[in-house]
Subunit: 408 residues, 4 copies
């Protein structure tokens, strides 16, 4: 069978499969499942083009990895065929542990992080592929000597981030977020076993950091997206609560397993009752079917949230730099209660606050390293003429139904 498949990609034009094993991994149902998991959850409620899947992102990151390896080799960095294949497998599967709407599910139904699950999938696939993923797993876990390979998968300038920033800005249509990935990759090099950027790439890195901040404020932490995600979390929590109280209707089989059992990291290691395979069945269809099944649920709170999610009647969301006062929250709660006076309302599902934060660039921990023309390596923050002011920003939000008291 011809395993030299080429994918069309609106972002990069074409994506070629570099190794046979990559073809086989892509064909596996574990990986095909990523076709049914949107990269950005409910973001398409704000940016209707943002329907791209984790499948496509994984292919994209793999594509950039191929390019990065080619660039590094052309500069004399020694990367064996095995290492190249290993790193490519690792980036292809780096996000395979994501479930549907992970932001929502990881806080409600699943108690294991997607990083842990990715490793579990890698190990399971390694068994199925008879040890051919050994090196990929070492690189993925940063247990391999050539540290730059790990940094290409998980670091300040890894191929994951490079693809998702690029892809997300492309499909959302937030064109100001598009990054010069091509040029950044061209500027990569290795120094003392660490990934570095050549000096003439500095401007590109600066623009990359501006774009990244922009994507956070305009996409990842967009008010309306936040509101939709929080509604989904509340809806799932309410569904689970009712399930715990004995309600069974409107819950799909696969989902119910995760409601019935409190799976943790240990349960996933338990081979007999195959939790990983159960998890592998979960996708966006399960979550949306749960929403659709409950729009007419007798529980008002659940049905209100479900209908809102289905028909995109989203909660109002306020954002500010300081926490919301208890007094203000109480007032909103009262208004909501009054508005829904005739219904049995669980107020904590309809009025709730929280906080999100983002750092633009941190000088703690791993910094981007710059290889100067003279041969010296400096952390980016010490490069003359290149301004970075590390800052951390926190935003508090408050969500509640868009109600018009005068209406009633």
């Amino acid at each position: 069978m011809n395993k030299k498949k080429i994918f069309n990609d609106p972002v990069y034009g074409f994506i070629a499969i570099p190794y046979e094993i990559i073809f086989d991994l892509i064909e596996h149902p574990y990986f095909q499942r990523l076709r049914r998991i949107k990269q950005l959850g409910l973001t398409h409620y704000v940016y209707p083009g943002a329907l791209h899947t984790r499948f496509h992102h994984a292919l994209g990151a793999m594509h950039l990895m191929t390019q990065a390896i080619e660039v590094l080799r052309s500069k004399g960095v020694d990367i064996t065929r095995e290492e190249a294949e290993g790193a490519t497998i690792a980036i292809l599967l780096h996000d395979i542990g994501h479930g549907p709407f992970s932001h929502a599910l990881e806080h409600t139904i699943i108690d294991v992080t997607h990083e842990e699950l990715s490793l579990l999938f890698l190990k399971r696939l390694n068994i199925l592929f008879e040890g051919k993923l050994d090196l990929a797993i070492d690189i993925f876990q940063n247990n391999y000597g050539k540290r730059f390979l790990y940094q290409l998968i998980s670091g300040q300038l890894d191929m994951d981030r490079m693809d998702y920033l690029n892809r997300d800005s492309f499909f959302t249509g937030v064109s100001e977020g598009v990054i010069g990935y091509h040029r950044i990759i061209k500027m990569l090099n290795v120094y003392n076993g660490e990934l570095v950027v050549e000096e003439k790439g500095l401007f590109s890195i600066e623009k990359f950091l501006v774009s990244r901040r922009l994507m956070y404020w305009q996409v990842y932490l967009h008010k309306t997206v936040l509101s939709a995600e929080q509604m989904l979390i509340k809806m799932l929590l309410r569904l689970k609560e009712l399930f715990d109280n004995g309600q069974r209707s409107g819950i799909h089989d696969t989902l119910s397993h995760f409601f019935k059992n409190k799976f943790d990291k240990t349960s996933f290691l338990d081979n007999e009752f195959d939790v990983l395979n159960l998890f592998a069945k979960l996708d966006d269809y399960d979550v949306f079917t749960a929403i659709k099944n409950n729009i007419e649920n007798s529980d008002f709170t659940l049905s209100y949230l479900s209908k809102g999610l289905l028909n995109r009647k989203l909660f109002k969301i306020e954002m500010q730099n300081e926490p919301f006062s208890e007094k203000y929250k109480r007032r909103i709660e009262e208004n909501v209660r009054r508005y829904f006076a005739k219904e049995k309302v669980e107020i904590e599902y309809l009025v709730f606050d929280g906080v999100e934060s983002i750092s633009n660039y941190s000088t703690k921990g791993e910094e981007i390293k710059i290889l100067l023309k003279g041969g010296k390596v400096l952390p980016m923050s010490s490069c003359a003429d290149h301004g970075i002011i590390p800052r951390r920003i926190e935003k508090h939000y408050l969500c509640y139904p868009k109600i018009n008291l005068s209406e009633k």
Copy 2:
């Protein structure tokens, strides 16, 4: 409430909502439902970016309509505010009657065409919006005096086609299919109440026709897409057959209504048992949930088709200009039977043939009309130096499981 919303669109940058009523129509659950219906069904199994929805296409077509109206007005064509609004509503809702995977469902479950359903939705919305869609409905049905408004919605160069060719080539990444929509729209004019293209737009039209043919062969009639769609049709037919024989498991409520009843155009007009609202509940989630629910069905044929669809193990498809010989078909059938010797196989669901056809440009019926510099109007096919050779092409296909007899 601010109804001057702007949508980000990777294709056009920004799409602005031109009228308040458009905002209200978009907000309606009938229209929001289009968010859950992919424009190109299973095409994303070949082009992973092709996940765009009918929602986004409808907005795009509306955007182009706004531009076309502006261009025509700037050339002195008289279009009142009411007419502009009517045409814009008509194009926005022109595809609202589409169900999920309509190619598959219209031949299996639904006996009404999506054009008929669009009209039913338009009429229902007209009641809800208290007659504000009267003019839109007239234009949609070609009952309005200014024929060019209808031609902008349904004609050789309508805004529907203009957007879908553009959008489909964009999201599939088949960049050769991208059309110069901008320039074509700039070249539109009206002559004797009919839509015409100015002479200097001739090259753009030629390229448009080449792109269109290319999109047919590379996307709409792509072998693998055809194979996936045919599998879905067979899967649904088998599901229905089993349903008719009493099997109830694995069938979602909404879908089951359409299995239980044989709805035709008349039933949709029956207001008491509200079939239109029932139909409005159907979306991609129902179809895919049906697939997911049946991967372990005890009926081998159904589960084989479902698993194939879920994990993208698609049937082999052969294509040729002539019909396949009965002899050849028999041989394939035997092979398949032998391969699945241990299973109870319904062969007509696993081995089947069919035919698809396409015309590049027809000189029968409505031709593209060219307004020459001198003021004369000619059908495109009579323009000197502009080559169109009208042709009709038929392709026969034969589908069957990718089996390897030597394996067993």
Copy 3:
């Protein structure tokens, strides 16, 4: 010295120099001279961006040649390092024989075609480079066994045409003329020693042919460009006539050599009086300086043409499918005479007609060859579903000053 230079190119991004000898050839004053010769002569009077030079075009064509060779090799076509270098040199230098505004000069001052001059330069450089251009010269003259190498330099789909169509549409801003060069090159192959296009490239070829026709009508034969070029021809002819009558002022040294002597092919071969080196000194600066020097010439005709060319007061140009009647021409001539009644006017320099023609695609001679999936090769015109209607179009023009008789 580092000869791995990379050029920035707005069209292709980057152009890398593939061989050391290419670097040395580019450095040679013969080649640097192309920096001073615009690719499209006076076309920038209509499209102000069209200032790109033959230098840039030669680099671009070389870039595409590198890509074409890479594609062919990847398909198993045998091309040795020497052949690749030879073909690359040949395309780099294919236009080196162009003088400034060649359309104008080749009909007035220079009696040798630019193709003949290119060969003379190739041979002269071969002496300077000690025989290293032997193979390039063979390929350039179609004296080399592997005919496809010649076809890449001079044929229906050569890299010259590919680059100039692309580059000219880019810099003129006639974006409809942009061709999918990338895809066409990807589809090239060799069959029986001849260049062919793979079947799936057919749509791209069709669009290429449409774009090419469009470029002819919108750029190469643009009315105003034609008018400017004809004015330049007349201006140079008048200048020469006055020179022959003894006038010497306003004529630059280099130019005067070509006025004084009637060089033909033989004179260029005469090494003693080095005509080739003399020719190598000619560039756009000489022609424009001649214009600038004569805006106040005492000869009215010359000064009128010069001033018009300098300040872009161009002649009116009429175009039609048939020749202009003598009667009409006479009438225009009389008007012009009357308008310039006070001046001594040479009417044949101010009122003149001519004819230009273009074929969209010819089935005579060398056709584009298509390699079908089955392995057969067909001329493009016999491919089903791919419409080409070969046609030849002629346009007659008539030029004269934009005068307003009522003014006087």
Copy 4:
């Protein structure tokens, strides 16, 4: 006559002429002359695409002005038709005072700045156009009440800068320098009569500032460009010196006027001997013809510089943060003298140093003003989360012939 001309522009697609007077101004020989003056002088010796002219830039800036005015009006800023026309004229003519290679000529031949000359041209044209440029001149000189109009012509975010950064990055092919001009213009507003940027434009401004710095280092102060420009200055100075000593050959008429006389601001105001019209005859052709005429001059220094400039044999240039030591300079001088031992060399024309500097963003003087969502206006440097570290960088350079001492 139809004055609604549209220019094709590779950068913006199309540029429409907004007012009749603009058409007439463009037609004037003063403005047409800008067609013969390259925007970036000798930069095309490094970036071969950088051949765009001041003519094209002026049209581009005018185009952006039209957009800016439209945006501001749509936000309720009051701009009368007269003001719009005035501002458009002012931006169209803002650079009309530029001579050829102004960096080189303003330090050698011309003692008046191009800003002063622009004003002189504006005033002269105002006479010719019978006072119709009054308002434009007021705006140009910042003598008009609505200060934001002046800021659109000359300020931190003026349309001049917006177009040249955009256009220069486009034609050089330094794609990282491309700025999001479209978005920046969309974010402009007026507050208390001053131009401000709306808060959501902050990221765009940041990227704009990064791009601007990048363009300085990669284009405007590129080593090789600097070297070529300095060679041109030295060549002109030597030519003038020889002229002052009586040499007349090889000097074009127009140029010789500027050699003969020492024109200053006062002489330009002297109407009798019309210096402005004399200046209006100068263009790139004069400078290059001077180069071409002197490649065989008997003065070695002059001919060496001329040949180098013509054939692009440019001087080596060293750059560093500190001034070069006298000792090092002496050593280079000796080497050069030794190398050219047989020639009469004027060493100060062949070995010379200098300094260039650039600020990334200054908080002194006029800062970019940000209009926060709340309605407050802040200088950009005080906006939270938006990093600007104002810095001034100086680079010293040393130029001398690329000689190889071991050669001799």
